[in-house]
Point group: C2
Amino acid sequence: MFKPVLIEPSIYCQLDIVQFKSSCAACSLRELCLPVGLNEDEVKKLDIVSQKRKITRGGYLHHAGAKFQSLYAIRSGFLKTCVLEQDGRHQVTGFHMTGELLGLDAISTDVHTCDAIALEDSEVCEIPFAKLEEISRTIPSLMRHFHKIMSREIVRDHGVMLLLGSMKAEERLASFLLNLSRRFHLRGYSEYNFNLRMTREEIGSYLGLKLETVSRAFSKFQDEEIITVDNKHIQIKDIARLRMKLSNSDVS
Amino acid sequence: MFKPVLIEPSIYCQLDIVQFKSSCAACSLRELCLPVGLNEDEVKKLDIVSQKRKITRGGYLHHAGAKFQSLYAIRSGFLKTCVLEQDGRHQVTGFHMTGELLGLDAISTDVHTCDAIALEDSEVCEIPFAKLEEISRTIPSLMRHFHKIMSREIVRDHGVMLLLGSMKAEERLASFLLNLSRRFHLRGYSEYNFNLRMTREEIGSYLGLKLETVSRAFSKFQDEEIITVDNKHIQIKDIARLRMKLSNSDVS
DNA sequence: TGGCGATTTTGATTTTTGTCAACTAATCTC
DNA sequence: GAGATTAGTTGACAAAAATCAAAATCGCCA
């Protein structure tokens, strides 16, 4: 049912998970939040402070403005994060899946700066941040690992800024689909067939486009026989040409 | 000449500098990179590992792709960071001034992911990252402080994503000018009169606009008597209306 | 299972921004 | 300091995306 799969740490999006265990009985950091290179004792230290939490579809993992206590490692499911401005402006800042770490933005001011909402029933490990900092003092590799995760989020955000600042609608959608494809593949799912968990509006919000523009771009790709779209189900028929959508446009 | 000024730590962009010292003889972390709440001994530990470095206008602090060794705390001057894609796409990801910390993106892969280029003659403190991690293990407040700085960069990036994803050209420029104004003010300079260090093209790159669009937006603001533009010199004549440019537009 | 609200698609039109071009102003170099 | 180069402004036009509108489809829940 759930196939174990080896994951390249270097390109894995958040926590460097080396291997998913097939036994899913208990929520332990060993299974899901296991940073590379910790020994049994070290894992136990982390394990003991973390707590499992379930969020049903549509539910909030945390609200913007809420007091920050914990980071959340996604054990299963799919979530979005949204920033909100006082003027009603809002935007999806990310879609997050198994193995990724949420809440990093809140460290800055001890207040969450975004909503985190489950797009399907999800499960997370709640990691009290104060404890994590404390433990990481005694485990240099854990501290190093945590710094890399934060840095990776910064790099990811710069990539999104590049997308929003310099790509056309079709390029943005191509980039989005390729990113999802890669991330599903890393988790042992098909890179060519997957179901979107979010609406066209949410995709649009993330990509800085209106939902109609997203819909039209999907239709265009389908007409060009690059993908098949059946509502939320996507099949990538020609990943090479999807990649070309990105590189093709000559940018000054 | 150089007026000391009290800075609110909570809104200060990068390092929580409490006070600029008026003596600028030596580059020490005590003066410029002093995190809040460290005692003399603690500051010394950091001080000893940092090194001063000057970059002349147009020079590189680091190149994308270069091996990561150190973070850089800006002591004086003004720099930009640019991400580059293999397809030639590139974008300014930030403008950085005194007290801010550069290089956080490179922790992730031990390679710099962006160019950092001086827009005026600048001086930085080079802080070897391995040393910083080592020292921060023994000084919890330093570690905590460093985590807040990284987190703040993530929050800043989310703000830019919101700007790029949901604002019109004039709103973007208004947001940009208000941001610069606030940051100059925090450093003891006028919030209403300042010189831009970057070209229209660089502003456009950062805001996801073409230089002509930036130029037109400047002219529009000037016509509306919100600002005065004299090439690189900006005077904000009506900051309230500049703020309205942001909040005015009703967003769904 | 049937109906209703939410989501998606598609078309027509408008708005916004980009592109190209010409000109002016500033800055750099020798 | 003169000429060359770079930067900035403005206009006319084209392209991209947003907006408005209508119809089709999906999925939730009673």
